[in-house]
């Protein structure tokens, strides 16, 4: 299991458990993300609080999950990114594709303000 999840009113807080988000766990991550959407999530807030580094394979899975989500009007937010992880997303401009927040509270505040 790659994700530890908690669901409230179809909003899923999904915390990535491994310290390294890499080729070793990119496929199960993708499957778990799609499974959450199939089960009815309308928003998945993915927390990177445990992740020290991320590679291109895991980023690819993240994009596959987003590609699945967009036509179904499901949102994916990213929170609690450590500097190296955030910098890598910025390097390849993924920071413009995903909605990124400082933490879970900041992400959920956008829902309360909506």
């Amino acid at each position: 299991m790659i994700l530890k999840t908690r669901e409230t009113n179809r909003v899923v807080m999904a915390t990535i458990l491994p310290v390294e988000a890499s080729l070793a766990n990119s496929d199960p991550f993708k499957e778990e993300m799609i499974s959450l959407m199939v089960q009815g999530a309308r928003l998945i807030i993915v927390s990177f609080e445990n992740v020290n580094y991320i590679d291109s394979s895991f980023l690819g899975s993240l994009v596959v999950a987003l590609k699945y989500a967009l036509p179904r009007n499901i949102d994916i937010y990213l929170v609690s990114l450590k500097p190296d992880v955030h910098n890598l997303l910025t390097l390849i401009r993924m920071d413009k594709v995903f909605k990124i927040f400082k933490d879970y509270d900041e992400a959920t505040a956008t829902l309360n303000n909506a």
């Binding site: 080729l23 980023l59 690819g60």
Partner: protein, 190 residues
Amino acid sequence: MNGYSDRFETIFKCDLEAVSDKVNLCIAHIEQSAAGNNIGLGVITRTKWVITEMLTNAIKHSDVEECLLTIRMNATQLLFEKKDNGNPLSLHRCDEDKKIVWPLESASFPKKIQVSHNGSESLWAVADDANHVIFYIQEIGDPAMPALLKDTNEHFGLLILTKASDTFEYHYEPESATNRFLSTFNLQAI
């Protein structure tokens, strides 16, 4: 290669579980060799990304049991090389929608190859002969949301290697069927 006062070699067994330890070993060597020099955290971070992507590519694409990693360093440059005798580089050419494999079959060089394009930047490869290619990024604009979902997915690894390095290139040595991927970091640019 001349001019590098420090040289470190290590074999990477193409095992997914060994990536992290090998990356850490290489980074530890760089930090140790750079002691006293202002190599900068930025270079360390970028080098870590590059080594991770090179090792991941060895596992995903090379179809070999091991590859040789070499780090060379002097006061102005850090060079990381991955060498193997596996599958040569192959790319999906996005501008012509076809796969190309090294060594290139072409009558004329230099040859520009568009590898990926996302609306805000393009990844290009410039082959100056059949066996050597250098990658670079062409910035196009800065839209609010680049079309990253279109065709970039397959090329994240190359994109990271190209953008994190100051120079990223590939050499194919036909006599020995050897692949050499080289990433160079300019230390004076810090």
